[in-house]
Amino acid sequence: MVGGFGLVGAPLKLIDALVEHSDADELTIVSNNIGEPGRGLGKLLRQGRIKRGVSSYFTSNPEAVAAVNAGEIEATLVPQGTFAEAIRAAGAGIAGFLTPVGAGTLLAEGKEERIVDGVPHVLERPIHADVALVYAARADELGNLWYRRTARNFNPLMATAARVTIAEVGEIVPIGELNPESIHTPHLYVDELVLSR
């Protein structure tokens, strides 16, 4: 599970570390996009280490589309709001939810559909991960996180939804220096901090 909308808010240094210093392969990548050609998760894709992608928009990386069409990776396409909510649900202990989004479309195939108040809904299950890689502009030494502008996107959701959450951060400040009312991700969700620099 990797944060970011395109490359904005993506933990690019953690991805580089995965590319250069790890041999973990057959990975299932849960991320809104599979990076861009040769950038972000696109590097991992080029190494052939992705077995399956769960995403709302593979199209932003034509190499990911080509890999899916060639049968090199499996693709699970999820509407973006359902993708976000399923990750939120995973972190919040919710076993599933009913959404009207996608009902009657290709993306509901294989999923249970149920009529609620006369409207077709799709039963969506949570999306969990073993590891979440997220990016935050600022952390304190406890692991409280603050995101900047539209670099927030999926990061706070993913931080809650994995067994282990590793946060790449732009800076680490002493405990007490983040305004408690401005903390987006409380530290209990965060296992490891890595400075970007």
Binding site: T59, A75, L77, V101
Partner: protein, 218 residues
């Protein structure tokens, strides 16, 4: 499709927006609307990657790598803007808090079904927020040319492309016509420029009702 055609469609769609509304704009023709509104503060632009209060494109020296819209283009944020995560952004959309979504489409059916994310047999790997927006926005305005680049009508009896959602569209704006969905039926309410009824009929792949006296709602 010439830039003139695109901007005439965008300009007509912009007239459907009312001051103070919360508006989400899709990629393509809808993204021309901010440049045509004049005073962009008259509506509040929402972008699903987590910002309400999208401002103009940044000038020289204003570029912020952490500030983009859903088309991944650099933008600015207006005074009073708010940032939020993707789950909250889509809760706004799904929860009916977005007044208007303006989006492009490949096909719209006479029942208001819309297909705008995939071409059969290829390109079925990117849906983004399209399904959420057409289901959740209170009004859905489709902006598109009347005909595809291969000369096929885009307003059809039944969508043959993969559906985005059923019965979701409220208004269709092309370069020649404005259609409205009324009680599940497609009604031609306006001919644009010097377009004729015969021309619109020829460009439309289904029959429709005509009520040209209904100019746009005040």
């Amino acid at each position: 499709m010439t830039p003139d055609v695109k901007s005439s469609i965008a300009a007509r769609a912009a007239q459907e927006l009312r001051p103070g509304e919360i508006v989400n704009l899709g990629i393509g023709i809808p993204n021309l609307i901010p440049g045509l509104l004049g005073d962009t503060t008259s509506v509040f632009l929402h972008t699903e990657n987590g910002l309400l209060g999208v401002g103009p494109r940044p000038g020289e020296g204003e570029l912020d790598p952490d500030l983009i819209d859903a088309a991944k283009r650099p933008v600015t944020a207006l005074p009073g803007a708010a940032y939020f995560d993707s789950a909250q952004s889509f809760a706004m959309i799904r929860g009916g808090h977005i007044d208007v979504a303006v989006l492009g489409a490949l096909q719209v059916s006479v029942a208001g079904d819309v297909a705008n994310w995939a071409v059969p047999g290829k390109d079925v790997l990117g849906v983004g927020g399209a399904m959420d927006l057409v289901v959740g926005a209170r009004r859905v305005i489709v902006t598109m040319t009347a005909m595809s680049s291969s000369g096929e009508p885009k307003v059809v009896a039944e969508c043959t492309y993969p559906l985005t959602a059923r019965s979701a569209v409220d208004i269709v704006v092309t370069e020649h016509a404005v259609f409205r969905l009324r009680e599940g039926a497609l009604v031609l309410t306006e001919l644009c420029g010097d377009a004729t009824l015969e021309q619109v009929e020829a460009e439309t792949g289904a029959s429709f009702d005509v009520d040209l006296e209904d100019r746009r709602a005040a």
